[in-house]
Structure formats: C-alpha cells, structure tokens
Symmetry: C2
Subunit: 361 residues, 2 copies
C-alpha cells in the first residue's frame, strides 16, 4: 500500500487517515493502576518494582509539567543496568510540536498525579490483582461516565487520539482477550526485552478460575464483556471504551496489544461496531516485536486498521532512545498514536524525533 | 447603546460580543464549597442548611445527567415555604439548546458529584470558614494548576464561558474585595430575597482580623491577592482566575458579584490586565437586584463590560422560575453567561426560556 508519510506503515486501509490529514484532534491519555503490576517480574514499568505504580502519575506529570513531582525518579524501564525512558517523553514531544489540546484522565490510580486530571468517577478505585478474579469494581459505571467525556470532547474536534498508561496492562489485556475467547497467549507485548509470557498466562488462568469464568473442565463459558473486565481486566479498558462509544468523531487508539484488548471489549459490547471509524496508532517497536504478535490478535477481532510509526531511533544520539531498539519500553502513554497525529498534522518523522531528543534532554 | 439581542442589555462596550457572535465557545462550571456556608442564615443555597454544601455537586449532576445522585432533594432556595430551583437548570437548558461542549471542574468540594469532573489538584480542599482568617490552603497552587486547564481548553475554541457554583460565594467575594481595598459592603448579591449584609460584613471583618489583614487600628495593610484569598476567599476564585490567565482566547465570566470579586483578584495580580478581552455575563435578577450593587463594585475595579440577560420569567407559567422575580436565587452555575452564550449562537431569548421550562419539567 502507498504510505502516506515517511516513517509510517499502514496495515489495512489508510482511508481514515487520508480523511483526518490536517484535521483538528484532541488528545487524551487515560491512566490507571492495577495491583497485578506488583507481581514480581510481570512488568518493566518503573525504575524499581516499588516505583511501578508511580509510572502513570509520573507520565502525567512529565506530559503536563515536563517534570516529576510524585517521586524523584522518572518512569523508566531498567533491565541489567540498561535503561530506557518512559514513552511519555514521545507523547510530550508530539504534543509540544503540534500544540494539540489535551487532557489526562484518571480511571483509578493508586498514586495520584500532582496535576489537574479528569476524575472519571468519584467511586473509582485502582484495579485489583487479576489473580483474585475480582479485578475491577463496576466497570459499567466507568464506561457510562466516560461516555460523557468522549461526547463532550468530540463536539469541537475532528478526531480523538486516546492513549493509556497502566503498568501490567498487557497482562490485563491478555486476561480480557482470553475471557472473551481469543487466542492471545504468547501474543501480548511487554515493556522488557524478554516477555514473561508463561507468567502472564498463569496469572490470567488463576484469575479466570477464581473469577468463575472457567467452567469445571477448563473451558470459558459465555460471558459478557463487563464480566470479563470485572474479573481479569483493568479500569482503563471500560473507561477508554466509554470514550469511544461517547464520541461522535473518529478515534485513533494510541497503543498496541492493550488497545487490541480494548477492541475485543468493544466488539463484545457491540458486534456490529463500525471499526472503519477507529484505528490503532502504535510504534514500530510493538509492531516488529518478536516476542509478541499484535496482528494475530487484531485479525481475530475484526477488520481493524493498524498504523505503525517508526521514529528511527537508530538515527538518534540519545542512548535512552536507542535502547527502544533493544526491546525496552516499546509503547505507552499514547506514544505511537501521538506521533501518528503529528504526522497527520504535517510534521515529518525527523522533526518528531528531533523534538523527542530535545524533550529528553 | 444599541442592543445586540432582544433580552440583552450591555453596560459598557459590546465590541467583544460582536466579535464572538456565532463563534465556538467552551463552557466550564467550577464548583467548590466553603464552610462559611454553614454559618446560619448566610446563604439560601440548598433546600435546608444541612443540604447547602450538596448544592455544587447537585448542580454538576443536574447539568451532566439531568438528575440528582448525591442526595434526593434538588438544589433550591426555600424561604418561608416559597422555593425556586437552582440556576443550574438555566445552564443545563442553554447547554442542551446550543450543544456547546462543556466540562465541570472541582476546585475543592466537600461533597463530590457523582459525575466525571476535572480535579484541579490532588491537594485541594474545601474552603474553610473565612472567620478563621485561614480560608484557602495554597491558592497559588490552584491558580497555577488551573492555568493548564484554561490553556488546553482555549486551544481549539474561540472563547470560554466560565461559571461557578459555591454557596456563600458572595460572602467570600466580599471578603476578597474588602481585603483588596474595595468598598463592597452592602453591595454583594445573595440568593435570598433579603440579603444578610450585616452578617456578611461581620463575618468578613472577623476573618480579616483573624487573618492578620487588619492592622491594629482597623486599617487594611498592603497585601497580595493570594494572601487575600488565603485569608477570606474561597477555592473557586484562584481556580477560575487561573483559567483566565491560562487562556489564549476571550472569556465570559458567567456570574454577578462573585465574578466582580474575581475581577478584583485578577486586577491585583496584574494591574495592567486587559479587561477588554473578558466580560461579565449575568442575569437581570442580579443586575436589577435592589439589595446589591454590582455596577458600583465593577466601576471601582476597571472598565469591565457587563452583559445582562433577562429571560423574562414573568412570561413563564413555571412558579419555580417566576420566583426568580421575587429575588430568589438570581444567578449561579454560570446561568447568565450560558444564556448570553446561547444568544451569541443565534438562539432567541424566547427559545432559551422555553428550553428552561422544558428542562425544569
């Protein structure tokens, strides 16, 4: 397929992108935490395991303020002494470059950011460890309340770009995908070079069992999507889905396999959902990741177009960015979708990369 | 002066309104509470004194959901068995009629609305009784954080309309006005037909004394505006002021004497502030109120244009609306400014009144 921009590769149709070129977006990043992230070795988000659930709040602060307030150490992934900075830096760079208006939404975070955010519901809570089988309280409420946000913010913009920041979100995505009958084992992405698939699978199976989703002989019964999220999902999924259903304009879901999980959730809510009005915008680090398979998951759900941005960090002199090429971080905080948005607004991939480097300094 | 619309009376220049006619607004209502509202007889907001601080949360729920959730009894003013519904109904009507996008912001409320809102700061608290002289914790922080909101929401809109809902807000406005050296005694408005001016004045004087704003011989020393709010203000004032300073587009301050207090605060922050880019939009119930004097306060501050909307409730068959003519409620939740916005968007005052009646049913 003809590529619209240098640095972009589209899988499926790029008709929607052509329509959105030069149009006016609004960016939202939805944060949440889940105690699932506290399972040892499950996620690489955060400089240390103790700091994992500071990552979403830290991402918000970096995007809004350009500095951390909730703790001293910026969100990053460190493995064997090698570190890569949070993808929120890519998002911040895209937002600064384009001057696109944005807000951050909190769907239930253990650590609150020191920055103004949309509180989706006064009743919301961080997600529980999905091994309990009781991961999210009242996902219907998060869904219904965030519909209002999607509706209001779509009124005066041509499209919405929605990202997420939730450590261990690929595990909860695997949970929801599995609960909804998809084959996603060994296919979800992760923030570390080595993807702990067996651990993720075990955690999900324990949750499905404890949540009563598996029947006596290990089969998944017929459940509704809110039951799936309530058992083994996270607060971000129903919240972003609510924004999608509330919006009157097209949406770029800014993320990889977590957003694939979201699409499965959307499809389960409305089997006739028109996926031509939304698409995934993600990074080449996810798309080319040998430890996961985004496209296999997507193809099981529906005709969903995936647009992949490659910021060519091999051309960067910043080591923290170069480490993305070694399998660190890959995506998050809407990084891929926000870069896609910058391309749609006429910025070149070189300009985007340069701005990312500038923001990282 | 030539009136732009039937039902509108402009005091000062209407050049800004001419510029905004037909343009794209965004509406924000900022809620907060202050324990000052618990002083007996100081405010008429709420069906009973116990319900007073449920009013802002109830207003948000009525605007967003069309129904109350935080308690069973809708916000209203009842005196001697006569009641008038909250002005949030006027705001809701204007928003429904125009389909203008909006969000609600919480600057520190004792009762949280069951609806998605912008949380200005995780550190924010409801305002204290101003008699303590320590009414608002860290108003600078509210100001700085809400600047971000004003900036982001102004990016893709031609102007902002900002209202407030805070019971006893005229008393805190009197506090700030007095602390900043203005003569506002017996001039601030109120939600009841009888305005407890002496009580308001006593409360403010006690606060100024305890807050160390009055010197030994009863004179007000030179203080900065944040000291004034910290001593005898409320959390709404620095928050809405932050939005004003953060915005790149003109602003309609939707309210009466409380917004006059806000203008005094703005002027104290920046003596060279360009008041031609903002204006007050309020109701005829405030402007024609014999128990207060909005214009006397305004004229002490600067050349601030005031636009007054008269929804002609005498032509309504709804008793709850007709009681506005008897001095109940008058203004709040951005009612006047939201009706002005509807006029600017081409709706007639008759259409607005009809929609208000419809919403009240």
């Amino acid at each position: 397929m003809e590529e619209l921009f240098k640095g972009l590769k589209s899988y499926g149709s790029n008709e929607l992108l052509k329509e959105l070129k030069g149009k006016k977006p609004f960016f939202i990043c939805t944060i949440a935490t889940t105690s699932t992230a506290k399972i040892p070795d499950i996620t690489g988000a955060g400089a240390t395991p103790e700091l994992t659930n500071y990552t979403p709040a830290g991402d918000v602060e970096l995007i809004m303020r350009g500095e951390m307030r909730c703790c001293d150490i910026p969100p990053q992934t460190i493995v064997d002494g090698v570190s890569a900075l949070t993808p929120a830096m890519l998002t911040k760079a895209s937002l600064e470059l384009t001057n696109v208006p944005y807000l951050l939404a909190d769907a239930g975070s253990e650590i609150k950011p020191d920055a103004p955010v949309i509180t989706i519901s006064k009743y919301m809570k961080p997600g529980d460890d999905i091994r309990t089988g009781k991961a999210v309280d009242d996902p219907e409420k998060l869904f219904e309340d965030s519909k209002i946000i999607g509706k209001e913010l779509s009124k005066s913009h041509d499209y919405l770009v929605i990202g997420e920041s939730i450590p261990a979100g690929t595990t909860t995505a695997l949970g929801v995908l599995t609960a909804l009958g998809y084959d996603a084992n060994f296919k979800v992405s992760g923030s570390m070079p080595t993807n702990p698939h067996n651990l993720k699978k075990d955690v999900v199976m324990e949750g499905l069992t404890n949540g009563g989703i598996l029947d006596g002989i290990g089969n998944i019964g017929k459940i509704n999507p809110f039951q799936a999220v309530a058992a083994v999902g996270d607060p971000m999924i129903p919240t972003v889905a609510g924004m999608v259903f509330g919006s009157d304009v097209p949406i770029i879901l800014a993320g990889g396999t977590q957003m694939a999980g979201l699409c499965a959730f959307i499809k389960a809510i409305d089997p006739d959902f028109d996926f031509s009005r939304i698409c995934l915008g993600t990074t080449s680090f996810v798309a080319n990741d040998g430890t996961s398979d985004l496209f296999s998951i997507i193809s099981q759900i529906d005709d969903i177009n995936v647009h992949v941005v490659n910021p060519a960090f091999e051309d960067s002199s910043n080591d923290g960015l170069k480490n993305y090429l070694k399998g660190f971080v890959k995506e998050g905080a809407g990084a891929g979708g926000s870069m896609l948005m910058a391309l749609l607004l006429g910025y070149s991939i070189e300009e985007i990369r340069k701005k990312v480097e500038e923001v990282c300094e």
